[in-house]
């Protein structure tokens, strides 16, 4: 069984062939691992950048909507409290 890549060397001994096969296999595996690692690292960094961007895009409007709806409660509530305090002060003054 010929396990080498490309045409088999006709004049090499079986021991030499096996060594070449192992070396080439190791190089291929190493290259494969390097490619996988490089792809993984690239993917991870791209994800991080993309996720951060999406988070910024998605969360920022939520914060603005939250602030706007809180302001409604604060300002209208503040006006109501201010009126109630003035009303109470006047009622107290009239009772005196």
């Amino acid at each position: 069984m010929n396990l080498t890549f490309g045409p088999a060397p006709r004049h090499d001994t079986p021991g030499k062939n096996m060594k070449k096969f192992q070396t080439r296999s190791l190089v291929l595996v190493a290259l494969g691992l390097a490619v996988v690692a490089a792809t993984g690292v690239a993917q991870e960094s791209a994800d991080a950048v993309q996720n951060a961007g999406l988070a910024r895009q998605n969360l920022r409007p939520y914060w603005h909507v939250f602030a706007a709806y809180s302001l409604v409660i604060l300002l209208i509530g503040g006006w109501a409290v201010s009126i109630a305090r003035r009303l109470k002060a006047l009622e107290d003054r009239l009772l005196d």
Binding site: V65, L71, L75
Partner: protein, 229 residues
């Protein structure tokens, strides 16, 4: 209306307004769909526009009461105008704070000197100026008359604010509800907006009546103090 009657009406309207506000928040966050182009930030629309409408209503009401005060010299009309202006200042502040929060996402800036923003800021200064003019004179009666004129002049700003987006190049979109050919908003959004307008108007009149009752009591207190002296 008697002071007790005014207070009963104020309590009823304010409670109705507060319940309506809770319902409005539910509609905005759980019922109305998200607008396709602007996303979630467009939901500020449902408080921004009703607040603007209420501030216009307040200055219009104050101008009417002020005009009648200048004609009839009835103190109750002056009090009503002052209370409406105070409410108008609150709602105009809401417009000028919720708008920039929306604008930062939609336009990329909190503020720009475009016609509608500038005229709305002018309206806010008119609300503030009403109180400054009122208290600037030594004679209170003169102050009331000057303030009445400020309210009437302030109401003239409303048509300019509304039409500024048609007359001038503006970042604000053209009207989507008050149009000659009818509203262009989808049904769900229009219902939520109109409900918001109803809620803010109810809250305004409820708190306005409370404020009016306060001024009634103040007047009574001043009268007692004068007669005791």
């Amino acid at each position: 209306m008697s002071t007790a009657g005014t207070r009963r009406a104020a309590i009823a309207l304010t409670l109705a307004g507060l319940l309506g506000l809770v319902a409005l928040y539910w509609m905005v966050f759980f019922w109305v769909p998200t607008e396709v182009n602007q996303g979630v930030v467009q939901r500020i629309f449902y408080v921004h526009v009703p607040a603007a409408w209420t501030s216009f209503l307040a200055i219009g009401f104050a101008a009417l009461a002020s005009g009648m005060y200048l004609w009839l010299r009835d103190e109750r009309l002056d009090r009503a105008a002052m209370c409406a202006i105070e409410g108008g200042l609150v709602f105009a502040t809401l417009v000028l704070t919720t708008g920039p929060l929306w604008g930062k996402i939609a336009w990329g800036t909190y503020w720009t000197w475009e016609p509608r923003l500038t005229l709305t800021l002018l309206l806010w200064f008119i609300f503030l100026g009403y109180f400054m003019v009122r208290n600037a004179t030594e004679d209170p009666e003169k102050g009331k008359r000057f303030a009445a004129v400020v309210a009437i002049v302030g109401a003239l700003d409303i048509p300019f604010i509304h039409l500024s987006v048609i007359w001038f190049r503006s970042l604000h979109p053209e009207p989507v509800v008050a149009r000659p050919d009818g509203p262009t908003l989808p049904g769900d959004m229009l219902i939520t907006l109109l409900f918001g307008v109803l809620v803010f108007t109810t809250l305004f009149f409820g708190l306005f009546l409370f404020r009016y009752a306060v001024e009634g009591l103040r007047s009574e207190s001043d009268l007692r103090a004068r007669s005791a002296a």
